[in-house]
Amino acid sequence: MKRREFLTIPASALGGTLLYTLAREPFRLQAQEGTVKVPLRFFTAGEARVIATACERIFPSDANGPGAKEAGVVIYIDRQLAGPYGADKYRYTKGPFVDSYPEHGYQGKENPRETYHQGIAKLGNNFDELPVAEQIQKLQSMEKTHFFQLLRAHTIEGMFSDPMHGGNAGLIGWQLVGFPGPRMSYKEDIDQHFGAEFRPKPASLEQIMRRPGKPWEDEKA
């Protein structure tokens, strides 16, 4: 079995948020703990730092609000890659593999795990230590690659998916865009508030349903 890897991050970056351990048991991280060790399912600690940094360049934390770092996007990506999606369990992967028109989408053989490993190799193991301007330049040079397109899509997913998937820590992404999360009813509101912001307080699926969800990535890959 692979040596267990942890991502060590300042707890304050994640807020008080619910995470899921490898044993699928939820535990709550407390902001006051200083640093926390998040168990990784797929990445090594070094890989996680590289990806976390790249995600932060894609969705930066700035004066306009929190970004990929605070949302824990890298934790989201780590779980997606460890799960069936990362292994292409739900993509047609029979050959022959041939190039085609862009209208036919990604036709490659590599699954998301392999694509990330190739992408990390291109970014370099020290990517997270480069000056920010160099990080941006490097990502710009990779904009057209399948890896970058996956990374960008996954960053947005990690920002705005239900926190049971590992990102959107403390519902930070939903607060940022004013999305209330899943709710049982808008029957009294749909035809009201015309032209004015209606922003109910966000809640997660677990908070609404009072039981934990079953994220697909927890299915055996």
């Binding site: 990604y106 865009v177 969800g213």
Partner: protein
């Protein structure tokens, strides 16, 4: 291969059409019916925890596992096809209820001229003015024959809407261009969203005739004629790609299955993947299927009903070697002919006010049919048919919608500038949507792929499909119409005009794939007769939108059900009493 005990009727597919036929058979006759569904069972309880955009709307958890089977696509017979490796332009469902579980719920009746489109277009424009490659043809059944079956389907689902033509009398606020209805809708229209309200006001001001989208999302509590009671919609915004957590969206599992379960003569077998219809001497003897453990079975049956999605209906006929494959070069053969999708278009529009677009339901929206079918078109510029234009509020979710920006707002689609712009435009972008008629053409068809196979090693279905000049004209017309409506809604239209791009398998369009096993008046021009009975194998019935010789503007489910009920009457009143070829 294990031989099973014979049944009277074996139905392939546990979705809308298969279960609708099953329900008619077991409630009106004494035959034994077995429905074989390759996916898993589904119940209302499954859907309570599915309000999760990532797993359901992005990763598409309710769809067929594309790793096991997909289609291949090429733009023309000169190209070689490649597999659709991840879902894009359409989403075939799986499990009991099929795509009827995750559908949006739009319930249109087709306009009468669709059923006689070849005759209609020839009369209106003259044969010489129609595109040479046009393959549209008459269905062999008319709107008037289907009207009672439309009404039957609408009652089963409790469709919400407002009639615009009751027996020829035009009614303001409904769709005055619709086919004459014998009855008002079973339930009143859904509520407005802000966007749908603005669209209604704007189009009215411009002289058009807006009406609420007919919806299988119930607007209020409803008990159907079978005694099934369901609640009204709560506008949670999780409709398309989700199952309804409260059963307000009509799905086979919350309308037909509760009735079927009461009948001992009905059995449903899940995890059963039918791989061949077995036949000899022009007669189906049963079906061969593989279960979830990989064990193979032969299920003998007196009558076989093929009722899966269009793709699988056509593929199974090919794999079973039933019918004459279409040869586009020679213009001969029928199986696989007249593949159609649906023409999408319109324009994105930008507001300076929030839309609160996270609230909604699949069918919350208003639309106009002023240019539906051939309304308002002379055909002189080559545009023969258009479709409906609408503003829908089906519940905007944050992953899919983040980053919708007016062009030129941000240089990159990532980074600080992009983030700032995306936050600024958040909840201020809507879409005016064309649901356009897709006519059939000789060069668009389905056959078996020579290289790629499914998980069993059987050949995949191959699409040869591209847009033609007519569809580009539809998109351009719809864009110009949207550009006219947007300012009246207080919005700015996206200046990007439609690009005349090739057919694209990546971008979602709609799960409306029609044709391939079309119905018609003669065996030379169709796969099944006007009762959906196979011309060559009279104890085989092929249901669903695979029978449509061309697509209308409207979404096909309600018509697929109406035609199923029409066929069920023929099976029950004529065929079972005296099994024979009915046409």
């Amino acid at each position: 291969m294990t031989n099973l005990k014979p049944v009277d009727v074996a139905i392939i597919g546990g979705g809308w059409t298969g279960l609708a036929m099953a329900k008619e058979l077991v409630s009106r006759t004494s035959v034994s019916v077995l429905a074989l569904e390759r996916g898993a069972p589904r119940t209302l309880a499954d859907y309570a925890m599915d309000m999760d955009e990532l797993d359901y709307a992005i990763r598409l958890r309710m769809m067929q596992n594309i790793a096991e089977e997909t289609i291949t696509h090429r733009h023309s017979a000169r190209d070689s096809a490649v597999p659709v490796r991840q879902y894009g332009s359409f989403h075939p469902g799986t499990g009991v209820g099929g795509a009827g579980e995750h559908w949006t719920g739009m319930c249109f009746r087709f306009m009468p001229d669709i059923f006689t489109l070849r005759t209609h277009l020839t009369e209106k424009h003259g044969a010489a003015h129609l595109p040479a490659d046009l393959a549209v043809q008459d269905w062999g059944v008319t709107y008037d024959q289907l009207e009672p079956h439309y009404w039957y389907a609408e009652q089963m689902m409790g469709v919400s809407g407002k009639a615009g033509n009751l027996g020829g009398k035009l009614i303001d606020g409904g769709n005055i261009f619709e086919s004459p209805r014998s009855q008002e809708y079973p339930t009143p229209p859904l509520k407005h969203s802000y966007a749908s309200f603005l669209f209604k006001e704007a189009t009215r001001k411009l002289g058009y005739h807006p009406y609420p989208t007919p919806a299988a999302n119930l607007s209020e509590n409803f008990t159907n004629p079978d005694g099934v009671t369901r609640p009204g919609c709560v506008y949670c915004g999780h409709c398309s790609r989700f199952g309804c957590m409260i059963g307000a969206k009509s799905q086979p599992t919350n309308t037909l299955l509760p009735v079927l379960r009461k009948h001992k003569s009905f059995q449903l077998r899940t995890g059963s993947w039918v791989r061949r219809i077995v036949h000899e001497n022009g007669r189906a003897t049963g079906v061969q299927f593989t279960d979830a453990n990989g064990d193979e079975f032969f299920q003998p049956a007196e009558t076989v009903v093929l009722a899966s999605f269009t793709l699988n209906n056509v593929r199974l006929l090919y794999l079973s070697k039933i019918g004459t494959p279409y040869d586009p070069a020679a213009g001969k053969g029928t199986l696989g002919r007249n593949l159609t999708h649906q023409v999408q278009g319109g324009a994105r529009i930008f507001f300076d006010k929030p839309l609160n677009a996270f609230m909604g339901a699949g069918c919350v929206g208003q639309r106009i049919s002023d240019y539906d079918g051939g309304n308002g078109l002379t055909g002189e510029d080559g545009l023969l048919r258009l479709g409906m234009l609408s503003a829908n509020s089906n519940g905007e979710l944050p992953i899919a919608s983040f980053g919708a920006l007016p062009p030129g707002t941000s240089k990159a689609n990532w980074g600080a500038e992009w983030k700032a712009a995306s936050l600024q435009w958040r909840d201020r972008v809507a879409q005016l949507s064309l649901a356009g008629e897709h006519m059939s053409y000789r060069q668009n068809y389905m056959d078996l792929d020579p290289s790629y196979t499914d998980k069993f090693g059987d050949p995949l279905l191959r699409f040869t499909l591209n847009w033609t000049d007519h569809e580009y004209k539809q998109q351009e017309f719809a864009y110009d119409l949207s550009a006219k409506i947007a300012p009246a809604m207080g919005a700015k239209v996206d200046p990007t005009r439609p690009s005349r791009a090739r057919y694209n398998v990546i971008q979602y369009q709609s799960t409306h794939i029609q044709g391939g096993a079309m119905m018609g008046a003669t065996p030379e021009t169709s796969v099944v007769n006007p009762y959906l009975q196979h011309w060559d194998v009279p104890n085989l019935w092929v249901l669903g939108a695979s029978s449509f010789p061309q697509n209308a503007s409207g979404n096909p489910t309600l018509t697929a059900l109406a035609v199923t009920y029409w066929a069920a009457d023929a099976v029950i009143n004529k065929y079972l009493k005296h099994p024979r070829r009915l046409a």
